[in-house]
Amino acid sequence: MLQLILGICLVSALASCRKESPQINDPKRYIEGSFSEAFEAYWNGMNNNYIFWDTDPTNWDEIYRKYQPIFAKMNINDSTDVRKSYTYFKEMTSTLIDSHYALRINSPYVQDSAAYISPSDARHQKSPDYHGNINPNFFYSTIPPKYLDKGYVRGFINLSATDQFFAVAGKIKGNILYLHFNEFSLNVIKDLPTPNNAQKALQYYFDEVKKPEGLKGIIIDVRSNGGGYLSDLDLLVGGLTDKEFPIGATRSKIGNGRLDYTPWIPATVHPGKDAKLFTGPIIVLADLNSVSMAEMTTMALKAMPGGNVKFVGERTWGGNGPLLNNNDYYNSGQFSTGFLSLVYTSSTALRYVDGKLYEGIGFPPDIEVKYNKAALDAGTDPQLEKAISLIPQ
């Protein structure tokens, strides 16, 4: 009987030895009456939604230990403290590898021009090779008369007050098909009910691709292209193949833990309807400012079986994790808080077909031709000229 009583007491006492489960709240539900709460909302949002903790060098726990006491001493209603917080947010995020990553501070004390924090932007600007986008007018007004045959098609359309799409398509030397566009809204443009010149430029390209027997090569120019819709991948790259092919894999989150990942899910390009395999040389032009879909397209083209694709230009930006504006889909990705109206971050991680992650690194070219401002100012395009030279006549 003594043993029974002792046993019941011991087992009962031990049975309650479990850690308490913390309450994890939705970052946007915090009532941020203090900088302490603003910090908790952001830190916890990142803790549970950021997709790259597996490989990111940032020690997020150390960030909490260092900055939580700092934010606890600041006043969210004090303009000086708000401006200080901008510096602290920059410091906290400086080593994050997500090269889509951006924070937008929601405060009247931080000017619009300074409201965005982009760690990858700050990183790239420190590089001696850093340069801004090639002027859109160069693609629209300089390249066509100098490099394209007569009969090229170009057009632009305003998709919104702040979003203009343009495309240029034509032939070089009669048998090299060239296409440039500034963002991946190809399906959107294609489906616009009102005919427009941008749509005509794209249609010219897609019509020519369906007659590959007349082409010696194709140049797809995604330089200074900021990306866009993932669905354009099958339209553009799928238009050059008659078979599905893998470009790598993606994964997202399965739980709240930083390392709770789904398995790697194959990422494939699907052939377009009636698409024909293009076996001639395909040159993809990309540069430092080719990011997101522009990078993924470069990587996808390079993954085409057949080995007939070359990448000319510069190592790309390094932001190739696909993203959605809602973290409910993948248990990861974009979120917002009261103080940060946007925490812009990838929803999934992309692993390339060679098994490597190029996030924060950028995809390297086969043939490096660096940005040459002097040449561009003089109206010449060394990168395009190199691409043309790689297509035998």
Binding site: R18, S21, P22, D61, I254, G255, G257, I265, A267, Y329
Partner: protein
């Protein structure tokens, strides 16, 4: 002091020894339902569900007298669970089928008649998470959308595009996964003395994991514990004279 405690403990045990001390060995098998005790945080349209499993073991019992024994049940046991999504994410799910090699050690208290007896088990266990298999369906970022008629509704994402289904061996992550599990157990059941040496038994047992399935690798970590409810039957064979 330690010597005195040990002597006291041995004295308590010795005080229960009688000429009836004897070993028994057997075979048991059962069905279980495992619940993962955790929480989903702020994740929407997501819940954890318990899953069925089975266990098989070789109980070894040392009867100290006619009402008290020490028993060990080295066993293989499954402790599985599922994550299920709902509403627009209906069809998205993930199953963890976890296998453990476990050693429960317990005090076995018997009461009742000569042939038909009742018993109560109280004790603890140590287990090793030996392997796992994951199975499920997830959203495929690069899925080709179905061609649907204009204006068609998609109540669930999988109405609009195929998900990615998988069934594969789980790769442990040494930064996160705690392979050793410790816990307590309580069980109760009935036994029937079939012949002088054979005893049949049926038992309902509860295993309560006290160690998180994960190592402490991050601040504000939500723990995960196994709660396993077992129904099992078996047979013991008394060794010796």
């Amino acid at each position: 002091m330690k010597k005195k405690c040990l002597l006291l403990g041995l004295g308590v045990i010795a005080g229960t020894l009688t000429s009836r001390a004897q070993f028994s060995i057997g075979l048991e098998g059962g069905y279980n339902k495992n619940h993962i005790i955790t929480n989903i945080g702020f994740r929407a349209f997501t819940k954890y569900e318990p899953l069925d499993g089975f266990n098989i073991g070789i109980p070894v019992k040392y009867d100290l007298n006619n009402w008290f024994a020490i028993q060990a049940d080295p066993q293989y046991i499954q402790k599985s669970y599922k994550i299920v999504r709902s509403s627009y994410f209906e069809g998205i799910n993930h199953t963890n089928k976890n296998s453990y090699i476990q050693l429960p050690l317990m005090a076995h208290f018997t009461f009742g008649g000569q042939k038909l007896k009742g018993f109560l088990n109280l004790g603890g266990y140590a287990g090793y998470w030996s392997s796992s298999r994951i199975k499920g369906t997830q959203i495929n970022t690069f899925a080709k959308e179905y061609e649907l008629p204009d204006g068609a509704q998609t109540p669930s994402i999988l109405d609009g595009e195929p998900g990615y289904s998988y069934n594969e061996k789980f790769t442990f992550d040494s930064r996160r996964d705690r392979r050793i599990e410790l816990g307590v157990l309580v069980g109760t059941g009935v036994s029937y003395q079939l012949k002088p040496r054979y005893e049949l038994f049926a038992e309902g047992r509860y295993y309560r994991g006290l160690t998180d399935q994960q190592k402490n690798y991050m601040l504000n970590q939500i723990p995960r514990y196994n709660d396993t409810y077992v129904i099992q039957v078996g047979c013991m064979y008394r060794l010796g004279k």
